[in-house]
Symmetry: none
Subunit: 209 residues, 4 copies
């Protein structure tokens, strides 16, 4: 799917607003005001507000699989190294795409069966399968324990990251980092989180601490 400049501008405005206020909490007018386009453009380009959300999912979901795919197929790294890289990749992407991941986190909660849900489901399934293969490889090589619950692991990976992002102002406050510039703070957060999750995963996956 190819999008023109205006369409991308609308999707980006919508993404930010959906992340901040939720889908239902954002009006089409809010979006077009931000994107500085005409009110009719959302219907014109995307069909409806609902389909605009779908388009955002398609637009953002496109290139995720590829990165993981290459990681899994790499022959030189140990499985643990791969998991560490996986953690880093996940954190990086969720950090880059904080707004998109907020929307995804929100939409997962909604009890509905729309097109958006299918897209999320598909995305999750693809990722889960890749991680599953990575873990199985490590188990085969004897690097990892038996009886690893992949969904639980993913819940920790995604849940911790997501929770930390959505509560980063608490983190700042508690650690007295309010005055730190945002870029520096993000880097700090990323480093801390990486270390934290690597410690956790090592203990879950391997025999030794």
């Amino acid at each position: 799917m190819e999008y023109n400049e205006k369409q991308i501008s609308i999707m980006e405005s919508a993404e930010r607003l959906f992340a901040e206020r939720g889908f239902a909490g954002t009006s089409v007018r809010d979006i077009v005001d931000e994107a500085r386009v005409n009110i009719a453009m959302v219907s014109y380009y995307f069909g409806s507000k609902e389909k605009l959300l779908e388009s955002i999912f398609k637009y953002r979901g496109e290139n995720i699989r590829l990165q993981l795919e290459t990681l899994v197929q790499d022959q030189k790294m140990s499985s643990m190294e791969k998991v560490f890289l996986l953690i880093g990749t996940y954190i990086d992407r969720m950090m880059e795409r904080q707004n998109f991941h907020k929307i995804m986190a929100r939409e997962q909660m909604v009890n509905a069966t729309g097109a958006t849900h299918k897209l999320i489901h598909q995305l999750k399934k693809t990722n889960q399968d890749l991680v599953q293969r990575l873990i199985a490889e490590g188990q085969k090589k004897g690097e990892f324990k038996k009886n690893i619950d992949v969904p639980l692991m993913m819940a920790t990976l995604i849940g911790t990251t997501s929770n930390l992002f959505t509560t980063q102002h608490y983190y700042r406050e508690i650690n007295k980092l309010q005055s730190m510039p945002d870029e520096q703070f993000q880097a700090h957060l990323k480093k801390k989180l990486n270390l934290h999750l690597k410690t956790i995963f090592k203990s879950i996956l391997t025999y030794e601490a």
Copy 2:
């Protein structure tokens, strides 16, 4: 704050609907239809839809602190035992109050500065402080490592649990548990999650695995 039967009925209906559809995605009409009360009751009893949400936070948030308070003050248990109990207590309460925690998770994402946010902030701070004291106690006793990042720890505790709850249908599907009765499944989930988080926390907090 004392609430009468009708007020509680409204809050319970609202809680379920806010959890399922989000605050903005739920209309006052939806709520009063569910609660089988008059349309004017929400404004009459709570002032507005916004204030109804605040009331739910006050109503649900009231008795949380108490449980943790007693836990921390207990003299007989080891710090690790206390942390394990804390994990169990958290999971239990989030499970019992899944709807309320969904709403909290959602509302944390919203970039706003309303009364609701203050309540969430307060709730989080209280809990964080108690956990902080518990950790400090363990460090003082030499049970726990130095340099423990409590906010990160909380992010893992709450994030993992929350993420697992909101994606429990994926968990069911992947583990081929669709046919298991819900009550049994919830028990299964709780057990797995407890074990998972205890393993994680042990590795984070103590020197040995």
Copy 3:
């Protein structure tokens, strides 16, 4: 179905406007402006513009059957007298309810399968059946010919009346009656039409002219 004063006011305004401009050609705003009520009242009372139309059909269609029913069951009149009375009754009612019949005539043309169509269908069927019974009675008594095509007969009865009403300004012009007061003109039209249709029906139904 009971309707309050405001609901009736809305239905009457809508009826006039639908007759004049068609359903699609009339906006909800037009209706509420005429009825001097708030724009939200149409949705509030009827659910939607579509359902307002249905309500008009139900409201106007209610007492039609009853009149014909009693006519058919009368024992003293000859069948021809009954047909004459039927013609008079039809013309009277279509004259009284010109707007409603315009709407019906219009809606019959639309290729659709909504609730409105079912109501029209039902109305037509009920009437057709009653006329059919009346004709059969006349045939049994030997008053009427065999091989009478009731739908064709109805097409002439309703079609002639309807066409005359919708083109009454032409009628006025051609017969140079523009200056005649409307009430008088309506009476004149009714008389002419009665005579015309009675002549026609006598020739269709009986052996002699």
Copy 4:
């Protein structure tokens, strides 16, 4: 007025849609989608949606007068034969141009004073005058009664035909002809209608039955 291929294609699509859904119920987009032309073509070729309707009236109304004109001037036929031919001609044309006549029937109902109304008025007047002359001729020859109300007669001719066409599915159903192929059914309808109207007109116009 000469129209090119694209213009005719637009008019034909519009004619069908206006007949099915009414003028206001049809959007310009519907029309251009059907005609497979660009959205701007309607404004470009016809000026506006309203003027497209006028163009259809001009396009379809052109060659009607001619046929009747020759009929009236024929010297060999009796007046009654001419009337019978007139009936047949009317039915034929209305059958061929069902969509156009639906639109005319509809537009006559609208209370407006646009260009379309003038065209309809003109069309009706021309026809009415020709029929008037035909009747006068019959009266002069002594074939027809005095005191014939031509507008009423036209109302029966056009009203019956129009009503039968717009309710032909009822006719099918009542006479259990749902399975008859459409072409055959149309022929059947035409034959029945011809006979019916001829019987009526004979009784109206002449002294004997």
